[in-house]
Amino acid sequence: MAGESAKLSKNLLRMKFMQRGLDAETKKQLEEDEKRIISDEHWYLDLPELKAKENLIIEEKSLVPCEDLLYGRLSFKGFNPEVEKLMVLLNPKDEKEEEEEDVSCMQTDVTDEEMALRYESLVGTMKKKFAKKRERAAMDEDDVNQNVVVKSSKKTFLKPQD
């Protein structure tokens, strides 16, 4: 087969429908030939390379970031509560206010203990979900009996004694 395909002309081999049958080596050779043709025909100007200089000046057309201007909607004395909410949300706060906020954040935080307590009950419900029917029934019983753990061991074959 290899000898046969070598006899075919290059132009024929380059056609789309011939590409499938080609092995890797001839494919590579064809590509190289093509590249050489392209680079031979390629013209270029004999100029020194243009070096892209790093731009050290950035242009900023807007005054807003320069002067730290606020957002353009204002509401005073509770005229438009929605806008007042936006003012708090979008405008950078003064340092004083920020400190106050930090304190309130700490107070509303969920403590580790609360978290653990909450997840304690969750563990039970999730366990129930994945348990088999028989086990689930046993679990419900347990709950009724104030969590008295009765380990029902799996039924196994008991070897009769001689």
């Binding site: 731009n55 050290l56 000046i57 950035i58 242009e59 900023e60 057309k61 807007s62 005054l63 807003v64 970031p65 320069c66 002067e67 730290d68 201007l69 606020l70 957002y71 353009g72 909607r73 204002l74 509401s75 005073f76 004395k77 509770g78 005229f79 438009n80 929605e82 806008v83 936006l86 979008l90 950078p92």
Partner: protein, 245 residues
Amino acid sequence: EDSSVSTERVGEILLPGDEFCCGPKDTLPLTDSGKSERLVAGPGLRRSGDRLLVSRSGVLRHKEPNKFWIESQQRRYVPAKGETVIGIVTVKSGDVFKVDIGGSEVASLSYLAFEGATKRNRPNIQVGDLLLAQLVVANKDMEPELVCIDGSGRANGMGVFGTGGLLIKVSLGLVRRLLAPRSDLRADLEQLFPCELAVGMNGRVWVRAGAVQQTLVLANLLQSCDAMTAPQRQQLFRRLQQGAF
């Protein structure tokens, strides 16, 4: 030292054509890695090659670490990317609205650039409506483009204003004074009466208060504040509080 050449001139009055610095390499302080830091040229400064030229007359301002801009008084708005402006819808044409924002050219606003808008659910907007929008394309050679939503698709206070209220035009300097982080003018306004303002960087301010009379008082106040010193303004505000309200 060379590194302080640019900061030395902060507060000086510069005129268009003045050279701000020649080559950032000479003037910028070096970072630890040996490269000089980037310089941010704000409005009023223009880069030409390696040099920075002044393109607007005004006072040179500086913000740490290396932001420079020219502060000047003007009434003509030049659209800048990222700014929120108040626009007036002038044309409804198919997929886009043409919105007048006071710049040299009208801006376009897609009907999809509203909160909750879909191809089937078009926002209800009429010619003549006022809206607060953000510029996403602002470029000296192209038509400016507006949106009424932020990156996550929320309106965040942008979009068409409700009924009532009054639109006034003030200088761009007053807009900056209204929105400055620690603004005396805003603090004075807060003391007056319940009211609402929408301030566009294009010098348009939309005011609304409980009664038409209060809205008018507020509008007149803002317009006269433009050319007033702080003591004058405070006196006026005091008189107002003692008198009508």
